[in-house]
Amino acid sequence: MSIEVRNITKSFGDFKALDDVSLEVPTGELVALLGPSGSGKTTLLRVIAGLEFPERGEIFFQGENATDRSARERRVGFVFQHYALFRHMTVFENVAFGLRVRPRQHRPDERTIRNKVGDLLKLVQLDFLADHLPSQLSGGQRQRIALARALAVEPQILLLDEPFGALDARVRQELRRWLRRLHDEIHVTSVFVTHDQEEALEVADRVVVMNEGRIEQFGTPDQVYNHPATPFVYHFLGNVNLFHSRVHAGRVHIGEIEIEAPEHLGTHDAPALAYVRPHDIELDRVRDGAMIEAVVRDVRAVGSLVRLELDRVDGDEIIEAELTRERYIELDLRAGEHVFVKPRNLRVFLKEA
């Protein structure tokens, strides 16, 4: 079932949690809502679920207006950050809950419930815990039970609020992959909230980057990471170098060097910021054309990549660079030595006046 969010605005007192947000999620996709805390991502998820009601805007499920439907009528599966398992019920009863509360004429008989819950517990690989209480489970197990419980009512839409937020790093990794596989199996339209960029990029088909109640960018992980639409997305996804510069007639001037910026052909002498990822910083010991001179300040050779911090000679900006280990050995750089820097793939945003 597809989801369409149209011009949603939602405030809490003076705080505008969502500011005219529109979004379309096609059937069967796994979408991540990514953003810092307070960016409105959880509010958006709760609005879709019907747990919050917006001041303005509409929600459509499969083209049908669902704005006025209650959470109960929307029949979405919702997985809470802190699981929200019913603490006085066994794992089995938790999963069976959605079936047991159905109106009498739609309620399955005991045997059907038993089979269904059994199947779901097998799906989340926890059928041996059926008789346990939630308090006897680990965090990762609770989260999987919460997911099984949400799936029991066969929702057409699955919403997950920071599903792995409260888990430790290793369990997180594991559950993340598991969620991706599960989604590939059952193909229910899913939206999950996260503040962890790695999680969003690794799991989701597409990523919605949110900031201050607005959507900054909606695209595939490749698009948002490699072609960020706004400075915010650049900052939020991965490390980035920032060069204060001027743009004139399609060329960026950073210090003494000049680089082509064809998207700004019509711009006349305007202040701008150029963004470059650390791995797009090229280093050399000798000057080869237009390059920025810098001094190596610090080298961190941990893992497969070597990170260098460089001080620009012509200013007080710091440049962060990432080299492969081979390139680093080839250059044999040490702290205090001079290098020449050439930024590749830079993205230029004009400064707002």
């Binding site: 679920a49 019907g50 747990l51 209650s70 959470a71 109960r72 929307r74 029949r75 979405v76 599966g77 919702f78 809470f80 802190h82 929200a84 398992l85 019913f86 603490r87 006085h88 019920m89 809950f97 959605g98 509360v101 159905r102 209480l133 308090s135 006897q136 919460a146 419980r149 949400a150 029991a152 009512v153």
Partner: protein
């Protein structure tokens, strides 16, 4: 398993940084025991000793008297009305306060606490001032031949007022701590309002609720001051057990007075026992709280 666990922390305690030397502990524990014995156990023993002073037969005979039976009946009736009322009100108030935010919430909480902060005699007086012959509604009630003050309705009303906070006070912190995520989960799973309430909200607070109810019941049966003001002390009609005890005592009928008092004391003991069982059960169902209270005990 329970005894093992109980012995375990005891051994560790001497090694703890916060542990005290044996002598200090003995003195402190001894002082506490002497205090408890003098102020709690001895009076309780006296009640039963006095009641049985003239033998078992005299003890049971004192309950044969119509006035005594009437007092017991009225006490039971009062509790039977006041407790269910406060149960329903307490749940409703705690639910509203615990799960929702609204203007005037803290004012409502203060209002619920009011009966605790007002002297019971004043509480009784308030009802006399409202419903009494010289009160606001007195003449109107008299015209319609409705008797509240110096009658059973007045006793029940004041008892309700005095026991107002017990259930609500017990549930509010519990519901606040639990938040409303489980209810939201229930709703997204298709549960209706009542289903959510009876299947999720209520079971989550059942022990706190029971606890509040037995405290409320104990107070409803034992209340003296407020009831005394509105009762009028009409023997056989408007005397509850506590009032009955006072009258008998003032008439130097010690055996009968203490026999009646022993009923109230028994009620207190039963209340304590039930409270103990509830706390134990509740702790068993929430393992986190158990370990915490164990550490506290040690």
């Amino acid at each position: 398993m329970l005894t093992e666990a109980a012995i375990g922390p005891g051994r560790i305690i001497t090694a703890r940084a916060t542990g005290e030397p044996a002598l200090v502990r003995a003195v402190l524990i001894g002082a506490a025991l002497v205090f408890l014995g003098l102020f709690l156990f001895v009076p309780l023993a006296v009640v039963f000793a006095q009641a049985l002073d003239k033998g078992i037969a005299a003890y049971f005979n004192s309950f044969r008297e119509p006035a005594a039976l009437a007092a017991v009946r009225l006490t039971l009736l009062t509790a039977a009305v006041a407790v269910p009322f406060n149960l329903v009100f307490g749940i409703a108030a705690a639910w509203v306060i615990g799960k929702f935010d609204f203007i005037g919430k803290s004012f409502l909480m203060t209002l619920i606490d009011l009966p605790f902060s007002v002297s019971p005699v004043v509480s009784g007086l308030i009802y006399v001032l409202v419903f009494g012959m010289q009160g606001w509604l007195g003449p109107w009630l008299a015209d319609h031949d409705i008797k509240i003050i110096f009658a059973v309705p007045g006793i029940i009303l004041t008892t309700m007022f005095v026991t107002f906070p017990f259930v609500a006070r017990e549930l509010i912190p519990l519901m606040q701590a639990q938040g409303s995520e489980e209810e939201e989960a229930a709703v997204t799973l298709g549960a209706g309002g009542w289903q959510t309430f009876f299947r999720v909200t209520l079971p989550n607070v059942k022990w706190g609720l029971l606890y509040g109810v037995i405290l409320c019941n104990a107070r409803a049966m034992g209340e003296f001051g407020a009831v005394s003001v509105v009762s009028g002390h009409i023997r056989g009609l408007t005397n509850t057990l506590p009032l009955h005890v006072e009258i008998l005592y003032n008439e130097y009928q010690y055996v009968a007075a203490f026999a009646a008092a022993s009923l109230l004391a028994l009620l207190a003991l039963v209340t304590l026992a039930v409270k103990g069982v509830i706390e134990w059960k509740a702790a068993r169902e929430t393992p986190i709280r158990r370990t915490r209270s164990r550490e506290g005990d040690a």
